[in-house]
Assembly symmetry: C2
Homo-oligomer: 104 residues x 2
DNA sequence: GAAATATTTCGATAATTCTAGAAATATAGT
DNA sequence: ACTATATTTCTAGAATTATCGAAATATTTC
C-alpha cells in the first residue's frame, strides 16, 4: 500500500463517528449494512452519515452496492489487510518481533 | 486500547507529514531523533514540526526526552502494538484469519 | 403518475486543523 | 553576562473538515 493511501485510511479511521461506522460494518459481516441501519445504530443524521461513509469509501475501507432503494455498505477487508501490512511490514519494518508474536 | 485512543492514533497518523515523522523515527531506532534532525530530513519549518510532533505525542505514539538543548523523540512501540491489537482483536474481531496468517 | 422510502447533494455555518514567521524560553559554552 | 544553539509558544491567516436541515434524486409500490 502506498504511504499516501495509508495516510488516507488513517485519517478516515481517525474520527470517532467513522471508526464507529467501520466497526459496525465489521460486526455486520458480509451482509454489510444499509445507511438507514447505521443511522439508527449510531444516531447520526443521514446527511452527516453519508459524508462520513464517503470518506471511508474514498480511502477504500468500505465498498457500496446499491440494491433497489437500499445502498448497502460493506467493510473491505483487503484494504484493512493492506493497511495492517503497511504498518507491520513497511512503516514498522524490522520491528516484526514486537507485533506478530505474542507472549511478549 | 480504548476506541477513543485508537481514533486519536489514527488521526495522528492520518497526515502525510506526521506519518513521515513517525516512519523516520522508526528508522532512527532506539536512539530516536532530535527535532532538528527531523527538520532536515523532512524539510518542514521548526514550529510546524513541533506541532506535528506534539500531536503524535498526545496520541501516545511517540515519547520525548530532553538531554540538554536537544529534545529527542522516539517512537513508542508499545502504543503501536496496542493500536495493532485494537485493529486485529477488537475492531476486526473474528477476522483474524484474514490478518494474522499469511499465504492467503 | 402519485405517494412512500432510501439516500444523496446542496448550501451555509461552525469548528478545527494546518502552516509558518516572529518572539520567547531553555540550555550550554565562553 | 553574552552568544550561540535547540526548541517551543504566540499569533494569525488560510485551508480543510464537520455538521445538518432542506431540497433533490432514485426506486418501489400502489
Amino acid at each position: 500500500m502506498e504511504e499516501i493511501t495509508a495516510a488516507d485510511c488513517f485519517a478516515a479511521l481517525g474520527h470517532p463517528t467513522r471508526l464507529g461506522i467501520y466497526r459496525a460494518l465489521v460486526r455486520a459481516g458480509d451482509n454489510g449494512a444499509p445507511v438507514g441501519m447505521l443511522q439508527e445504530t449510531l444516531g447520526v443524521p443521514a446527511s452527516t452519515l453519508t459524508h462520513h461513509i464517503q470518506t471511508l469509501a474514498r480511502a477504500g475501507l468500505v465498498k457500496q452496492e446499491r440494491d433497489g432503494r437500499v445502498l448497502t455498505t460493506r467493510a473491505d477487508y483487503e484494504q484493512m489487510r493492506g493497511l495492517l501490512d503497511f504498518l507491520t511490514d513497511d512503516c514498522c519494518q524490522g520491528l516484526g518481533h514486537l507485533f506478530k508474536d505474542d507472549a511478549a
